[in-house]
Symmetry: C2
Subunit: 394 residues, 2 copies
C-alpha cells in the first residue's frame, strides 16, 4: 500500500459498519432473559417495522438473508400447490433451487420457473399471465434487487397483480430494504425479507422476515415441516411477547438497534435519496469512462459494468484492493449467464457517502488506465462530482 | 443532517484519528513504572526519531505543541543575548509574544522581530542579513508551516544560514513534521518541535521536542528557569533511560506509538507525497472555482482561500458543517493581518485521503453555489480528480 487510502468495503454485502455500531457491539454481553434485552429487542422490532413500512410483525432470525428467505419459502406453501419462482440472476436461481430441493417435503406439484435474461427485469404482465394460467400457484417468489446483475424489478406493479390472487408474494429485499423505496403494506407485499449485512449497516448474522396479514393467516393453515429457525410460527409467537424462541445473537441485535436508529435519524427517505445519488453517480461515471452497464433496469443498490477489452478481473480488482484499499465485487456464474471474470460491481448500500463513491471511482479509473484503457484522467470523478453537486432528489 | 455525510474533521488540527489508534487508547490503563510501558515508550521514541529524521533525542512532553515550543524557547537562550523571531502569521507572532513575556527572566537584551506580510515567507537572505548585523543573537525562531496563513518557509535554506553562526535554529514544525519533508539532521535544524494532533494522527495532548547536538550542548550551558515541563534537562535525562520525569499520559503515548507505526508502514515519503497530492488537488480545485489562495508560498499542510464577494464565514462554514459534516477552519486575527471572516482553510494533514478531500471540496463548492457564487456544479471535484488520477510524485 504505497499511500494512505482508507479501507472501503464497496462489495454488495458485507458492507462497512459505522464505528458507533461497532462500539455498541463491543459492549459487554447481556443475558437475553432480562428486561434490558427485551427493551432493546422491542425497540429494534419497532424500528424494523418502520424500515419495512409495515405495521405487521418483522421477525429477527439468527442467520443470513438466505436463512431468512429459506424460512419464508418453506413455511408458506400450500401442500399440493404450485410455486412460481422468478429469476434473472444468481439469487433468483437460488430460490428456485430451494423449492426444487424441498418440493417433495412441501408437496409442491410444480416449480414454475419464470426466467428473464440476466440484467433484465420481469414485467408485471409476464407474472400475470403465468398466474392466470395456473390458478393453483400458492407462492410467488420475486427478487426486488438482483445483486448479481444490479437489476431492480417493479415490485409495486407485480404485488398489485399477485395480491388479486390467492398466491402470496415473497419478496427478496435483501439489497433493496434500506436502499430504495419498498412499501410493504402500501404495495401489498405478503412477505418481505432482508439481511443485516447490506443496507442495514451491520455485520452478517441477522435475517429479517416481515409477515403481512395474508402470510400470518397462511402460517396457521400450513403445518410446519421444519423446527426452530425454520418454523416461523415459533418466532411469530415469541415476537408477540417481545421475545425470541432461542438464544439470540445479543451483540448483533444491540448493534442493529443502533444502526436502525442512525437510519431513522438520517430519515429513511433521505437514505433512499442518498443511495439513488450514489448509484446515479456511479452509473454516470462508468458510462463516462466508456463502460457498458450490465443492467437494463438498474438497481440503486449496486452498480455493475462489463470489463472492457483487455482488462482482466484479477488486474482490476486486485489493483483497486492493493493500490487503493477499495474492495469491489466481480461477477457470478449461474444458469442464465456466466459472468465470472466478465463484469465487476460496486455497492451503493448502507454506510457509504459521496466521498467513498468518489474514492472508489477514482480507484477504478486509475486501474482501468493502468490496464491500458484510454480514459482521460479524472473523467470518472468529474462525472460523479457533477451529479453530487446537484441537490438530491428526496 | 438530511443525508449521510461521514464526519470529516478537516480543520488544521485537531485532525481525525484512525480507528486503530482510538481503540489502542481505549485499552486499560497500565502503570508507567513498568517494563511494558518502558517498552512502548522506547519504541515510540525510536519511531519519533525516524519521523524527525534525526539520530538525536526526541522528547515527549505532556501538553500541546505550544507547551513544547515554549519549553524549547525558554531553555536555550544565552542570558545577555538577543533572539530573532520571524513571523508572517498568528503562530510566528505567538513565539514573539512568548519571548517578550520571558525577556526579563531569560535576560534577553532584544527580541528582534523579523516580520513578513501574512501569506508570504521570509527569505534566507533576510535572515542572514539580520544575523550578520547582530552576532549576539543566540536563538532564531522560525515557523516551518504557518498554519494561519497556509504558508511554508524554506527551512533548509535558512538552516544553512543559521548553522554557520552560534545561534540555534528553533523550528516550529507543528504542522510540517509528518506532512512535508523536514530533515532535522541533514538540514542542521537545532530544535524541531511538533504536536500530536496534526499530522501525527492523535488527539491533542502530546508535544515533541527534537534536540540536536548544539541544542543539547546549549542546555548544559544555560541555567534552568523553569521546572518539570519547562526544564528540558530533566526530560533529556529521563529520556536516556527510556523514561519520563513525571506521570505521562499513558493512553496517548500508547496511541501515538500505533499512529507512528501506521505512518512508517505507509512510509514517511509516501505520507509526504500524499499530503502534497491532497494540497495540490485542493489548491487546484480552489483556483478552478475562481477563489484566490491566501498564500504566495503555499504549505502542503493546509490550503486557504479568501472568501469571494458575498460569501460570509458563517454561511460557508456552518453550511459545510451542517449540510455535509465537513468541518473546516476560518481565519485568524493577528498583528500582521485581520483574517477573521475573510478566509477559510482546510487541512491536508494526517488521516486524510483523496476521498475525504473530494468530499470536502464538494461540500465547499455546494455551499459557495448556495451563497450565490457562479460555479458550474462539479468543478471542484473535477479539478481535484484530475490531480488524483495521475500517479503521485513520491
Amino acid at each position: 500500500m504505497p499511500v494512505l487510502s482508507k479501507i472501503r468495503l464497496l462489495t454488495p454485502g458485507p458492507t462497512d459498519v459505522p464505528p458507533a455500531v461497532l462500539l455498541e457491539m463491543a459492549q459487554p454481553i447481556i443475558h437475553h432473559r432480562t428486561q434490558q434485552f427485551q427493551d432493546i429487542f422491542a425497540e429494534l422490532s419497532q424500528r424494523l417495522q418502520r424500515v419495512f413500512r409495515t405495521s405487521e410483525p418483522v421477525l429477527t432470525l439468527a442467520g443470513s438473508g438466505t436463512t431468512a428467505f429459506e424460512a419464508a419459502q418453506i413455511n408458506l406453501v400450500k401442500p399440493g400447490s404450485k410455486v412460481l419462482t422468478i429469476a434473472g440472476g444468481k439469487f433468483g436461481e437460488r430460490w428456485q433451487d430451494i423449492y426444487d430441493t424441498y418440493a417433495p417435503t412441501l408437496g409442491i406439484t410444480e416449480n414454475i420457473k419464470l426466467n428473464v435474461p440476466w440484467g433484465e427485469a420481469v414485467s408485471a404482465q409476464q407474472v400475470e399471465e403465468v398466474l392466470k394460467a395456473n390458478p393453483d400457484i400458492s407462492v410467488v417468489v420475486l427478487v426486488n434487487s438482483e445483486t448479481s446483475t444490479a437489476t431492480a424489478s417493479d415490485v409495486k406493479a407485480i404485488a398489485a397483480v399477485v395480491s388479486k390472487t390467492d398466491a402470496l408474494l415473497l419478496v427478496d429485499g435483501i439489497t433493496s430494504v434500506g436502499t430504495m423505496p419498498v412499501e410493504m403494506d402500501a404495495w401489498g407485499i405478503d412477505v418481505l425479507v432482508t439481511g443485516s449485512q447490506k443496507a442495514l449497516m451491520l455485520p452478517p448474522g441477522l435475517g429479517f422476515v416481515g409477515l403481512g396479514k395474508r402470510a400470518q393467516q397462511r402460517l396457521k393453515e400450513v403445518k410446519p415441516t421444519g423446527y426452530y429457525n425454520l418454523d416461523l410460527r415459533k418466532w411469530l409467537k415469541s415476537w408477540a411477547n417481545q421475545d425470541v424462541p432461542f438464544t439470540p445473537p445479543v451483540s448483533l441485535i444491540r448493534g442493529q438497534r443502533v444502526a436502525l436508529e442512525m437510519i431513522e435519524t438520517e430519515g429513511l427517505e433521505n437514505v433512499w435519496a442518498r443511495s439513488n445519488a450514489l448509484a446515479t453517480a456511479s452509473r454516470t461515471a462508468f458510462t463516462a469512462m466508456g463502460l457498458e452497464l450490465i443492467s437494463k433496469s438498474p438497481s440503486d443498490s449496486v452498480t455493475g459494468a462489463y470489463y472492457p477489452e483487455g482488462v482482466t478481473d484479477k488486474a482490476l480488482r486486485n489493483g483497486t484492493r492493493d493500490n487503493h484499499n477499495v474492495h469491489i465485487a466481480g461477477g457470478q456464474d449461474g444458469r442464465g449467464a456466466s459472468w465470472k471474470g466478465k463484469i465487476f460491481r460496486i455497492s451503493n448500500m448502507g454506510y457509504v457517502d459521496a466521498g467513498d463513491t468518489l474514492a472508489a471511482l477514482l480507484a477504478i479509473e486509475m486501474e482501468l488506465i493502468a490496464c491500458g484503457c484510454k480514459i482521460k484522467p479524472g473523467t470518472a470523478v468529474a462525472a460523479a462530482g457533477e451529479i453530487f453537486a446537484k441537490p438530491l432528489a428526496v
